[in-house]
Symmetry: C2
Subunit: 188 residues, 2 copies
């Protein structure tokens, strides 16, 4: 059987020495029998016409093509500069979900979405249901916005979260490893 | 010709009296010849089995079905509790983009992503390329994460941003109106 291609979504691309970092994540995937794809990988057969586009458009098109070429997606949902996950990662989860393929998520914190939102807004928990602008605070007891968790669960994937930051919240790989093992088990 | 169905993505669902608010946005769409769909609309023919699911899962599945049933999507990208758009909205943009249909976006601020990110991090502009955790700051001169703008442009849609907050950043409809007119012109 050909190894399943799994796309590694996440703000890991913003880390220093991201290429080397993603090589470590790839090695963990390979050990579980996956063929991992990173957002930094070149796209085989990339259309010649793309060379005329600005870099950001090439990156966007390449990542979309990588996702289309993958069988599953594993997303780093560790909160990024606010209560929620990195928006590029969230976009990619929605994209893969529309393709009808399994999406898995993980995070190195287990603090619920509602608490992270209140912390970000500087509000205390007791009875707060909306922010200073009157916008409701989503409180379904989930880890992030309901579309994200709904998409993951609806796709047949799982969300693995754990306060596990021995090596730092971006560089502790234990929750990622658990998530990859879960993905391997579910997709077996 | 049947009117094109357009899905109204955005954190508008969190506004007080969201139903009445979305009725106003729908009226603007209808005036341009669209058949608007709101995330709060019931889903015709909703599967009976969904009634056993928790509310958040029903909402997620219903919104995905609404998007699949629409010809285009118009997203409110006004920054939401951080430098970026509401994550539910970003998920929906990625979802529609994967379906290959046009996505339009608008926001009531024109401040670029890099400046909003630096403001959020409490950093000054001069020479800053990464945050306190060493994570790079995306600086392509775009309005938000490159996947969002790449998806919109790649889909044939446009992004309309303008500092236009006479009635408040969530309740000024002028940029939305411009975006709906642009969508009508492009899809004509």
């Amino acid at each position: 059987m050909t190894a399943r291609r799994v796309y590694l979504a996440g703000p890991d691309v913003f880390l220093p020495e991201a290429e080397a970092w993603l090589a470590r994540k790839k090695a963990i995937c390979a050990a579980e029998g996956f063929s991992p794809v990173s957002p930094l990988d070149p796209l085989p057969g990339e259309p010649e016409a793309w060379s005329a586009l600005p870099e950001w458009r090439r990156i966007a098109l390449r990542n979309e093509a990588h996702i289309r070429g993958s069988d599953a997606l594993i997303a780093n949902l560790t909160p990024f500069r606010g209560p929620s996950a990195d928006p590029g990662t969230v976009y990619e989860i929605g994209f893969m979900r529309a393709l009808g393929r399994p999406v898995f998520g993980y995070a190195t914190t287990a603090l619920p979405f509602v608490e992270r939102t209140l912390n970000c807004l500087g509000l205390s928990r007791e009875g707060v249901v909306s922010d200073a602008e009157g916008m409701a605070i989503e409180a379904f007891g989930l880890f992030d916005n309901l579309m994200i968790e709904g998409g993951i669960i609806g796709s047949g994937g799982v969300l693995v979260v754990e306060d596990c930051q021995a090596a730092g919240r971006w560089t502790d790989l234990r929750v990622f490893e658990r998530c990859v093992r879960e993905a391997a088990r579910i997709l077996a």
